[in-house]
């Protein structure tokens, strides 16, 4: 199941950084209108990418540590983590193909 739900400051290391599969983290907030546009697109991507990608949401209001650590200063920000490191970042609401363009090159197969 590619969509692993929410992650937070506490489980960020184990769920994201230590994951064997690349993880696309959707940094969002309730008050962020463009975030609500992007999240369904991320869902679709999760379904399409199957086993090669995991996706997770991180609420920036509740999780300031991860937000600060990765220098997220604008939302939505989608950050792709592979092998514990950031390898791609998409800032702002973008259509699916634009997101995939930046994300796909890093995925297996």
């Amino acid at each position: 199941m590619a969509n692993i739900g929410s992650v937070n400051d506490t489980d960020f290391r184990s769920s994201v950084l230590e994951s064997d599969t690349p993880v696309l983290v959707d940094f969002w907030a309730e008050w962020c209108v463009p975030c609500h546009m992007v999240s369904p697109v991320v869902e679709e991507i999760a379904q399409e990418m199957g086993e090669t990608l995991k996706v997770a949401k991180l609420n920036i209001d509740d999780n300031p540590d991860a937000t600060r650590t990765y220098g997220v200063m604008s939302i939505p920000s989608l950050i792709l983590f592979k092998g514990g490191k950031e390898v791609a970042r998409v800032v702002g609401a973008k259509p699916k193909d634009a997101i995939l363009r930046d994300v796909q090159p890093h995925l297996a197969g």
Binding site: C32, V33, G71, M73, S74, V91, G92, A93, P95
Partner: protein, 310 residues
């Protein structure tokens, strides 16, 4: 399966929803394709004080929600899809959102405009890491920090004033020696103790590796450069019309869709344009709404004429 429509509206700001409202009430069952920036530019603002009918003002997103509901009430069909391609070479026109395809007798283009960027070194790299074009979106991240706002129009005044809710200091950098913004907005900004202005100055580079650290400025009158330490840069220099979809298919001028004033006819028969995508002069929510109404009426009359012409 390709669906056939009488009216498709591309865009969901005041122009799009007003066009949809009028088209719906004319029994044309319009389809609104909302786009990625659904709701238009008013979604990126807080209090709207100059849209008539709201003595105490209204929040931008609330106004757009009302417009959407109103058009739906009369039969507009609204889809949260992003148009990726159009074919205006012949009627019925083709409209695609990814794999979904529609054919339509008339098209109303109300795709609006998006924030312009400066196109200077560091801007692209640091977008989302301190560089932004939307104060309401990203101001939250700069509590007690220092910020720079670039621009001299109403957007810059509004962004700067809004940002003082979070920032300890906001410096507006403007390339001329006076603002083009409306007097009331200028007064409000200049009266704000947290706001300072640097005149006759341009930003040449945004500095920083993983986050914004400062800006390199140049006073163009004195031809003197200096650096200013800052935590964030908000670009508010104007907007560019969203017409990439129509390049080569519609007559454009400086990117704006050309219409035959006072109508909303574009260079293609059956295609109408309304709002910031075509308006180079006024660019207000109420003028966009007014033009959206015109576009719907123009489309309705066009369809009637087509029906009565052998």
């Amino acid at each position: 399966m390709t669906e056939m429509r009488s009216v498709i509206v591309i865009g969901s700001g005041p122009a799009g929803f007003t066009a949809a409202l009028y088209a719906a009430r004319a029994n044309l069952a319009p389809l609104v394709l909302k786009g990625l920036e659904a709701g238009g530019q008013l979604m990126l603002t807080t209090d709207v004080e100059n849209y008539p009918g709201f003595a105490d003002g209204i929040l931008g997103p609330e106004l757009m929600e009302q417009m959407e509901k109103q058009s739906e009430r009369f039969g507009a069909q609204i889809l949260p899809v992003h148009v990726t391609r159009v074919d205006l070479s012949s009627r019925p026109f083709g409209v695609w959102a990814g794999d979904q395809e529609w054919r339509t007798e008339t098209l109303i283009i109300s795709t609006g405009a998006s924030a312009k960027w400066l196109g200077i070194p560091g801007e692209e790299k640091l977008r989302g890491r301190g560089v932004s074009a939307c104060a309401t979106c990203d101001g939250f991240f700069f509590r007690d920090r220092e910020l720079v706002v670039v621009g001299g129009g109403d957007t810059a005044m509004e962004e700067a004033t809004f940002l003082t809710k979070f920032a300890s200091k906001v410096t507006i950098v403007h390339r001329r020696d006076e603002f083009r913004a409306s007097p009331i907005m200028v007064d409000r900004a200049l009266a704000n103790p947290k706001i300072e202005v640097i005149w006759d100055t341009v930003v040449e580079e945004i500095l920083g590796d993983d986050a914004v650290a400062g800006v390199r400025l140049r006073n163009i009158k004195k031809d003197e450069g200096h650096e200013l330490r800052t935590d964030g840069v908000f670009i508010a220099i104007g907007h560019t019309p969203n017409t990439a979809l129509f390049e080569g298919q519609l007559q454009l001028q400086d990117g704006y869709a050309v219409v035959q004033e006072p109508r909303t006819f574009t260079s293609v028969e059956g295609v109408f344009a309304a709002g910031d995508v075509t308006d180079t002069i006024y660019r207000q929510a109420v003028t966009a709404a007014g033009q959206g109404c015109k576009a719907a009426i123009d489309a309705e009359r066009f369809l009637e004429h087509q029906a009565h012409t052998p």
